[in-house]
């Protein structure tokens, strides 16, 4: 469903993503883990067609994210980092814009819009300007726009960042509900989220892929069997060397 094939991205002399490859099938929820600046967001932007790789390629449902960008993007729901949204719009008009750009109109648009707002639990806030909403509701509005067209692939950059514990639970439940018929990739700093939501985990640091396996396998890479320790041992810079250099 989603394939990253030896993705490379350079920013000037800095290699942000180096030879990252993985693939994802329907029914999988992939947790994309790594310290700040590891290359998670850069990789996700390449999958979303917002950034061209300098090497390798990414495909969604068989469509190249650059050469067949529009076809790939039709099958993708993307929540960018920081969940940007137009502050003067309401969640309802924001989601409607996203749907209209994807060819929805009339009753189909209204139905998809109402369902997305409901799934993202916008409630009474669906008709207030996004600029007046709290960070959590703003993120839900952006999430509603990402899932409204029921795409087979979801790329969500830190979907639970800035949410309170109840809201986090709500989003995790939403991801679990959607999981059976979608390929979902989420980036997160919250390691406890991984066993709770993800069927698979990838760890990346300094642009390189360090681990790809189930959350259980990740935990078992250290004797204590804890994901936090495994993450630290994989990504912490070792004295005298650069991590994963």
């Amino acid at each position: 469903m989603l394939v990253a094939d030896r993705l490379i991205k350079d920013f000037g002399p800095h290699r942000a993503v180096a030879d990252v490859s993985f693939s994802l099938e329907r029914g999988e929820v992939l947790g994309f883990l790594g310290p700040n600046g590891a290359g998670k967001t850069t990789t996700m932007r390449m999958l979303a067609g917002g950034l061209e790789p300098d090497g390798g390629k990414a495909t969604i449902a068989g469509y190249d994210c650059i050469a067949d960008r529009l076809e790939a993007q039709r099958r993708l729901g993307y929540l960018p980092e920081g969940a940007p949204a137009y502050p003067a719009m309401t969640p309802r008009t924001f989601v409607a814009f996203s749907l209209r750009a994807r060819g929805f109109a009339g009753d189909a648009l209204k139905r998809a819009n109402a369902m997305a707002l409901d799934r993202a639990s916008l409630g009474d806030y669906a008709d207030q300007p996004i600029g007046t909403l709290s960070k959590g509701y703003k993120r839900r509005a952006a999430l509603a726009a990402a899932i409204a067209h029921d795409p087979p692939v979801l790329v969500l950059d830190e979907p639970t960042d800035g949410l309170d514990p109840n809201q986090k639970d709500g989003v995790r439940q939403l991801i679990r509900d959607m999981a059976p018929d979608k390929a979902i990739i989420i980036s997160t700093h919250i390691l406890e989220e991984v066993p709770a939501v993800c069927s698979r985990a990838i760890v990346i640091a300094n642009g390189r892929l360090l681990f790809d396996g189930s959350p259980r396998e990740l935990a078992q890479t250290v004797p204590a069997g804890r994901i936090e320790d495994a993450f630290r041992s994989l990504t912490a810079p070792r004295p005298g060397t650069e991590a994963a250099a």
Partner: protein, 246 residues
Amino acid sequence: MHTLFAVYRRELAAYFLTPLAYVFMAVFAFTAPAFAFHVGRFFDTNRADLAPLFDYLPWLLVVLMPALAMRSWAEERDRGTLEFLMALPIPLWASAAGKFLAAWSVAALALVLTMPMWVAVNYLGSPDNAAIATGYLGTLLLAGGYLAVGQALSATTANQVVAFVLGTGAAFLLTMAGLPFVLSALGQNAPAAVSEFVAGLSALDHYNAFRHGVIGLPDLVYFLGLIVVSLTIAGVLIAERRGGGR
């Protein structure tokens, strides 16, 4: 086409959801006649036409069109919504054209607000209404040209003030290029081909043809060409961002 319409609708709503369109139209509706009455001496000319209005509109557009255009891409970059927009299955030409047509619609609406003057000259005398209509068409095309240039420059920065200053500077140069003193200075100091070329670039020159009631093919081609080329540049600049500064 549905993508262009989606962007057009969103952009038009954005102008009217914020005070921007209302402030813009109020300023336009007040300033344009003020120029015509006070600077253009509308009544003293004793002629039933809108020449005093059309004389000063280009200079008003030099400032007001970049004000309308400055947000188009700079705001998207500043707020991070460009990332969202670029992940939607919208071809870049549709984004650029949708943004342009929305701003152009606001400009057209502002022009409509000067039409009571047209009614007034018809009440006071019998003007050449076809020539006035042609003048309005020329003004609309001139406004479109400045808007498109302003939107191309808005794509170069994430700062709206910078976009405004660049847009005003470019519109000012395009207007100035056709003024007699610029051309005569060039005529004395540069080869004839250069001054002809500069005169050909001048928006004012092509605008004046419309003001005299003539819809000439070269003038139409000039304005439509200016719009298409500028929007293409905006599209290319935004497409470049996919390269990530490569």
